[in-house]
């Protein structure tokens, strides 16, 4: 099925369609679901006019109706945002209420949520606030072939497979998020910075793990090679184990202003993108061998670490399996 004009019955759920119906803007979530259900071709979501409309074989769906942010649920501090809202818009909305998502990498600041979710991007260097997707309380999405998912806004998934997670990291083929609930946090008035130098990666990473085991929870941190040493820069929001960080991290204390500067540089609006997508993840013991001069480690956990700049693609076997499931979801063989 395809469309020829905005007068087609299928387009009755749109508030706007361009002359050739190559760019449609649904009225609401139900309208988007209906569009996806009735049009069997591939959609490309966008917000506003696409930068490059492409040929007549492409249909763009303008998700502008899903750009709103708010309200924030009292008590739970769950903020609702449309799938097309940007991280920066969400954080800005929260800031006005004395809340925060935690550190938002600058590379994501202007990215709509649906794009991040489609990429499955989950990393941010925040032991205190967790990964981005740790803070995802609910997703409502329009599915290919029609229909809307529904899930309760809950602190944890609770029944059966995590179907919300199944929508993530699958491009736009698994569905288009129209509404997202994210965990917000009270914005702490107290901040502190630390910078520590180490002789090498092993010492630095082991120190970091010891700090975590000791109960330290930096709001963000980063490990990077600088000259002949490895430097850990960390920022703290609230108490969150600052004393225990100091206790556990050996090495040589450096000027904490370094960390403050980095925090300003990497998080928040108006900064250069960081290559969040190119990374190797694995155990700490292997990471020590992989990390080199120029490597950066943001996401250190006792059970694993992400080394930026050492990209590995998705496992081809699992990628093809995901393709097969998506094919079924789209109504294919």
């Amino acid at each position: 099925m395809s469309w020829t004009s905005v007068d087609d019955p299928q387009l009755g759920v749109c508030q706007r369609a361009d002359a050739g119906a190559r760019l449609v803007e649904p009225l609401d979530a139900a309208g988007l679901a209906q569009l996806l259900g009735e049009y069997r071709g591939a959609f490309t979501p966008t917000v506003g006019p696409p930068p490059d409309p492409g040929g007549r074989d492409r249909v763009w769906v303008d998700l502008s109706p899903f750009s709103g942010v708010g309200p924030v649920t009292d008590g739970a501090l769950a903020v609702q945002a449309g799938g097309a809202a940007t991280w920066g818009a969400v954080e800005g909305h929260l800031a006005a209420e004395g809340l925060t998502l935690g550190p938002v990498p600058g590379a994501l600041w202007d990215e709509p949520l649906y794009v991040t979710l489609a990429r499955g991007a989950r990393r941010r260097p925040s032991p205190r606030f967790g990964e981005l997707l740790d803070n995802l309380l609910a997703v409502k999405a329009a599915l290919p072939g029609g229909g809307l998912t529904r899930s309760a806004v809950t602190p944890r998934r609770a029944t059966g497979p995590d179907l919300a997670r199944g929508l993530l990291g699958a491009g736009h083929r698994a569905g288009i998020p129209v509404s997202v609930h994210l965990q917000a946090w009270p914005r702490s008035p107290v901040t502190a910075w630390r910078a520590v130098g180490f002789a090498g990666w092993a010492e630095a990473l082991h120190g970091g793990v010891a700090a975590l085991h000791g109960g330290a929870r930096p709001a963000w941190w980063r490990f990077a090679a600088q000259g002949d040493r490895v430097v850990c820069l960390a920022g703290f929001a609230g108490e969150a184990g600052l004393a225990r960080f100091d206790e556990a991290m050996g090495g040589h204390p450096l000027d904490p202003g370094l960390a403050r500067a980095l925090g300003d540089e990497v998080f928040g609006p108006g900064v250069a993108a960081h290559p969040l997508g190119a990374a190797w993840s694995g155990p700490v013991s292997e990471a020590i061998g992989r990390a080199e001069v120029g490597s950066e480690i943001w996401d250190l956990r006792p059970e694993g670490v992400t080394v930026l700049g050492a990209a590995t693609g998705p496992d081809p076997g699992w990628a093809s399996l995901a393709d097969a499931a998506l094919g079924v979801l789209e109504g294919g063989p």
Partner: protein, 509 residues
């Protein structure tokens, strides 16, 4: 299945796992015909014969599991993966008969990499034994479900389990690094580490309850055993005050091991010192009966047969509740967490009860499951019903479920498994009726009321017990068209629909 088909299946199974590891004997088939779903207990009391599996097989390793799955594909034999049968939702009932695949011979620790904070352990490993094995090495998973004495690693993952210390260590899905799964197409697959980005296959298999494949091993996070613990009990003015303490603690980034708030009846049951010995008071008989103490069940049955009266009496209980906290970790963190909790508690006017309630909780942490026998023995029934929701809805959901289910059963609850966004409510309900049939009706009515209420309130209809058969009816309404996504995964991973049919979402439409 025809006799010839059964014989062919058994022959095939014996060729794979060895004759000693396949059974069709009546005692084995009876033992595997049910798990610990209380509804099955009521069926048994009513003398209803269970639906028996055709056979049981005990594979020794992943390769044998894969061969068994391939055989079952070829013969269109349903497979029910089975850990230790401690589930309370009927998730392992062989509703389409077929093969029960007991995984407990897969019980090796494949790898412990303490320096990398992970252990890979096979699915059939008993939980308590694993925790002791780790403790011997100064480590812990931090996963302490009430069923730890009688459950397996694979069961935890399959049913989306949560332990008593989940506020610190997370639920099982937070602990999984990767999984080895034999999917329903017979392939052995290892999921990518979740931090590799992209599609979250761990999230797909966790909670799938055997409907997509057989989990054969899991790589899980391990932690150093805590070197210090701080115990505390607080008498909070009322439920809302206790919830405020829990919420503020979690949103402040604290990671207490235990935050456990008892409602007034559960506070009475536990005792203000946290020790479950029966005391005096107007509800003494009820308390004694529910604790499995005392002889004879007449009084208990009478009270439980009149739940409106019982719940009405509970409404007259004093509002103050017991909040138990346990903080642990390195000494500095345990102390700092305890101090911060104390500050939040004092702000709501809580009274410090000292270490006693926390220590008593630790000493008796698994005792509640022993009470169940005493209640059934006295001709009544008991079950638990856990839901989860956000902080703004917790108190209202608690009241609504008490009201709805309380028409059929006596209801009490505690609040635990706290997160920054909300927590779980763990309802315990008990009832009685004149005969086995009426008991089942009352039981079913209580569940229906509880699920309807949770769903209507926008809460999650479970937290960590899984879906099985007991919640299946409400999965569609709870997830909407997301079910199609499950069906797509199922069609891909289990193309013949042999994996634990009838569970989680039920049969595909």
């Amino acid at each position: 299945m025809s006799t010839a088909s059964v014989e062919a299946l058994v022959d095939g199974l014996q060729a794979i796992v060895g004759p000693a590891h396949v059974s069709t004997t009546p005692p084995d088939r009876v033992a595997y015909a049910r798990d610990l779903w209380p509804r099955s207990q009521l069926d048994r009391l009513a003398g209803e014969p269970p639906r028996l599996p055709t056979a049981i097989a005990w594979p020794a390793d992943t390769a044998q599991v894969a061969e068994v799955v391939a055989l079952c594909r070829a013969t269109r034999t349903p497979i029910v993966p089975f850990g230790a049968g401690s589930g309370v939702c009927g998730g392992t009932l062989p509703v389409r008969r077929g093969l029960v695949l007991d995984l407990k011979r897969l019980r090796r620790v494949r790898r412990l990499a303490a320096e990398d904070g992970v252990i890979e352990v096979e699915a059939g490993h008993n939980g308590e034994r694993l925790e002791r094995w780790l403790a011997h090495r100064g480590l812990t998973l931090g996963h302490f479900p009430s069923s730890i004495l009688c459950s397996t690693v694979g069961g935890w993952v399959a049913a989306r389990s949560a332990g008593q210390c989940s506020s610190r260590y997370g639920k099982i899905e937070d602990m999984v690094v990767d999984l080895e799964v034999v999917t329903g197409d017979g392939q052995v697959r290892r999921t990518p580490r979740v931090d590799a980005g992209g599609f979250d296959w761990n999230g797909v298999f966790v909670g799938s309850e055997g409907t997509l494949g057989v989990i054969t091993s899991a790589t899980l996070k391990v932690h150093p055993e805590p070197r210090a613990r701080a115990f505390r009990g607080w008498q909070v003015p009322d439920i809302q005050a206790g919830l405020t303490v829990m919420r503020r603690a979690m949103q402040a980034g604290l990671r207490p091991a235990v935050l456990r708030l008892y409602d007034p009846l559960d506070t009475l049951m536990v005792g203000s010192d946290g020790d479950k010995k029966a005391g005096g008071g107007p509800l003494h008989t009820l308390k004694q009966g529910l604790l499995g103490q005392g002889s004879g069940g007449g009084a208990l049955r009478w009270i439980l047969s009149h739940p409106r009266l019982g719940n009405g009496a509970v409404n007259l209980l004093p509002a103050p509740c017991l909040l138990v906290t346990v903080s642990e970790g390195e000494p500095g963190e345990a102390r700092a967490t305890d101090d911060a909790l104390a500050a939040f508690a004092r702000e709501v006017g809580a009274k410090d009860l000292g270490e006693g309630p926390g220590r008593a909780w630790l000493a008796h942490r698994y005792d509640v499951s022993y009470k169940q026998s005493g209640i059934y023995r006295k001709g009544a029934f008991v079950d638990t019903f856990e839901v989860a929701t956000t902080w703004d809805k917790v108190a209202a959901l608690y009241a609504a479920v008490r009201e709805a289910a309380g028409r059929h059963v006596l209801v009490m609850a505690h609040f635990s498994h706290a997160y920054p966004g909300g927590c779980s409510i763990y309802f315990t309900f008990a009832g009685a009726a004149p005969d086995a049939s009426a008991m089942r009706d009352r039981y079913d009515a209580a569940w229906q009321a509880g699920l309807d209420t949770a769903l209507g309130a926008g809460a999650a209809i479970a937290h960590h017990h899984g879906v099985g058969l007991s919640r299946r009816s409400h999965m569609g309404p709870a997830h909407g068209d997301a079910r199609r996504w499950f069906d797509a995964l199922k069609a891909t991973l289990d193309p013949d629909g042999i994996m634990n049919p009838g569970k989680v979402f039920g049969e595909a439409p």
